[in-house]
């Protein structure tokens, strides 16, 4: 067995084997499930790093033939800069969230650890399979694996979660079927299912309605999966009512993987001329994304539940990615890929914070937050602050730089409306995050008498006593560690983004862009 040669296939297999065996191995010893999941996840991170380094060293895509059949006959795995990078992002985030999961699952889902962890592992298997595969139909299969697990992981939440999951299931099935239909059209026209092969054949049949329809269907399907603006209907409910760990796992990863697949389909299957010249699919995507950015931000302002707010903000942020994809120029693409990374980290951090709230306060209602939390959970709030600033897009946090690339992309494209949308959404983001920061870091306004500000020594004694009686009640280190790691990562990623762009993302830009 040659580890180097087989490394592309090992990550999905790792998750697959552990996922299928967890129900058997952990049948009698339930605590084992968590350790299996953690071990598999840690190993996957190591393997992802290994893969990324290998890709960077080799410098060109690594093809792995499953069953040793040549690509147009069998299925192949393609490990290039893009897939290796996104795989590392997703696995690392999942690993951190899994470290976090223990207490949260124990309190929210007692007695369901075994199937829960098994589902999580299978979900990760699905994600990794989707990201690394070079075959259109194989992608569908793995898409369905992770969709099914997502329905389940969402549905174990609070009372309304099952309905949210059902809605998601209906939408998700439509998405899957549309994707399948698109693949069908493509297969009939080209006679191949391999992405690279299709890419090679398609220039012989530009402008054919069937191919265009195929592209439309695939885009629609993936648009639903990534919650692109008018197709985002399932997302807010699903993310709100899911258990904390599920939201923290799904929100950073689910939509990102779908966006990744959209990038693949657009740039590596259809090619840029097809997507932006033959039919303005890219333009349509970017327009929708812009509307989504504004809509998501405004809806986020209107929410009173933290998780729901974050869910709508996800809609907006997915809009950024969609915009970057739709711009169809190098800066836009870099921005999109960088935002996949940044948004994954930010959202994971924020959802973990909301999970901390749920565990310690029993709710995550924005209007019930007050300045006692700052004393109770100072570290959690520090993480929240950093993530919020990053979401707003303030330098030197990571969020700024993806916006910067996107802004460059829009200018390159010459569309001022897009630029304005990106910038306005910054302000809207600021509105909904500073609202919370104000609540947490300041005295409640209602408790002040109207004339206290007249004097220098106005201390409101009741408030002060209240603040002093509040005991430190931070979550356990196993939960704090991932939260803070993600928050710190935001600063580090922001400062080091050029290294990431220069080292990895620059190479993903396909020729002719």
């Amino acid at each position: 067995m040659n580890l180097t040669n087989n490394s592309p296939v090992l990550i999905p297999l790792l998750f697959l084997s552990t996922g299928i065996m967890t129900p058997v191995l952990a049948m009698k010893k339930e605590w084992l499930a968590r350790w299996i999941a953690l071990g598999a996840s840690a190993a996957s991170v190591a393997l992802s790093i290994f893969n990324l380094i290998r890709v960077i060293n080799v410098g060109k895509p690594i093809h792995y033939k499953l069953g040793n059949w040549n690509p147009s006959l069998g299925i192949e795995y393609v490990l290039d800069h893009l897939s290796a990078f996104v795989i590392l992002v997703i696995n690392a985030i999942a690993f951190l969230v899994l470290i976090y999961a223990k207490k949260s699952i124990e309190s929210e889902l007692p007695g369901k650890e075994v199937p829960y962890y098994a589902s999580v592992l299978l979900m990760l298997c699905g994600f990794n399979g989707m990201m690394i595969t070079g075959d259109l139909f194989n992608l569908y299969v793995f898409l369905e694996i992770c969709s099914l697990t997502l329905y389940g992981l969402i549905a174990v939440g609070e009372k309304k979660s099952s309905m949210a999951a059902f809605t998601y299931l209906i939408m998700g099935t439509i998405a899957g079927c549309f994707y399948l239909l698109g693949v069908g059209f493509l297969y009939i026209k080209t006679g191949s299912l391999n992405m690279a092969d299709v890419r090679a054949i398609l220039p012989f049949m530009l402008d054919q309605p069937a191919v265009v329809i195929g592209l439309c269907f695939m885009t629609l399907g993936l648009g639903i999966k990534m919650a692109l603006f008018p197709l985002h209907g399932w997302l807010p409910d699903a993310y709100t009512y899911a258990p904390s760990v599920s939201s923290a796992l799904i929100a950073p990863t689910g939509t990102k993987v779908a966006s990744y697949v959209l990038i693949r389909i657009f740039y590596f299957v259809f090619g840029i001329t097809f997507v932006s010249k033959t039919l303005p699919v890219a333009d349509i995507i970017s327009w929708l994304a812009v509307v989504g950015i504004i809509y998501g931000s405004i809806m986020a302002i209107a929410q009173k539940e933290l998780k729901r707010m974050l869910a709508y903000s996800t809609v907006a942020q997915v809009g950024y990615i969609g915009l970057g994809i739709g711009l169809a120029n190098p800066f836009g693409l870099i921005g999109a890929v960088l935002h996949i990374l940044n948004h994954a980290v930010m959202k994971a951090c924020l959802f973990l914070v909301s999970g901390n709230f749920r565990l310690k306060l029993g709710h995550s209602n924005i209007f019930k937050l007050d300045n006692t939390i700052r004393k109770k959970m100072p570290w959690t709030m520090a993480a929240f602050t950093i993530a919020a600033l990053s979401m707003v897009g303030l330098p030197p946090m990571a969020g700024f730089f993806s916006k910067w690339y996107l802004a460059l992309g829009t200018i390159e494209k010459g569309n001022w409306l897009f630029l304005a949308a990106i910038l306005v959404s910054t302000l809207l983001n600021a509105v909904y995050f500073f609202r919370i920061l104000e609540k947490v870091y300041m005295k409640p306004i209602d408790s002040q008498s109207s004339n206290t500000h007249e004097q220098g020594t106005y201390h409101d004694h009741s408030v002060k006593e209240n603040e002093e009686t509040v005991k430190r009640d931070e979550v356990s280190p196993s939960m704090l560690f991932p939260t803070l790691t993600l928050a710190a990562a935001l600063v580090v990623l922001g400062i080091l983004n050029a290294i990431i762009v220069d080292g990895v993302i620059k190479y993903i830009i396909p020729k002719g862009l």
Binding site: S72, P115, S119, V141, G152, V156, T190, L193, N194, A210
Partner: protein, 104 residues
């Protein structure tokens, strides 16, 4: 609103039927999917499958060979899908153990 939905459906179906005009005739043995060599020079998968099921895998049923060997990984995924469905039902519906059982 309801009529708009119906309208969308009809338009949708109409579009697809219009697009189907561009699809090759059914049953055409020379359709792109049945070619030996694609325009880009790669092997046509279906053509190869039909000819080589016996020589490659000593099996008569081509579908079985595709399912289990040439595109075996899809089938592994498919099995995983159904296992996932089982697990989700387990996760959602099966009775929880008593809490003092888990704390052992």
């Amino acid at each position: 609103m309801k009529y708009v939905n119906y309208l969308i459906l009809v338009v949708f179906a109409g579009l697809m039927i219009a697009a189907s005009d561009n699809l090759p005739n059914r049953g055409d043995a020379n359709a792109p999917a049945n070619r030996e060599i694609s325009p880009a020079g790669s092997k046509g998968a279906a053509y190869y499958y039909i000819q080589n099921s016996k020589t490659d895998s000593n099996t008569d049923n081509m579908v079985t060979v595709i399912l289990a060997d040439w595109r075996g990984y899809d089938t592994l995924g498919e099995e995983t899908v159904i296992l996932t469905a089982g697990l989700i039902c387990y996760l959602l519906l099966r009775k929880r153990r008593k809490t003092d059982d888990t704390k052992r």
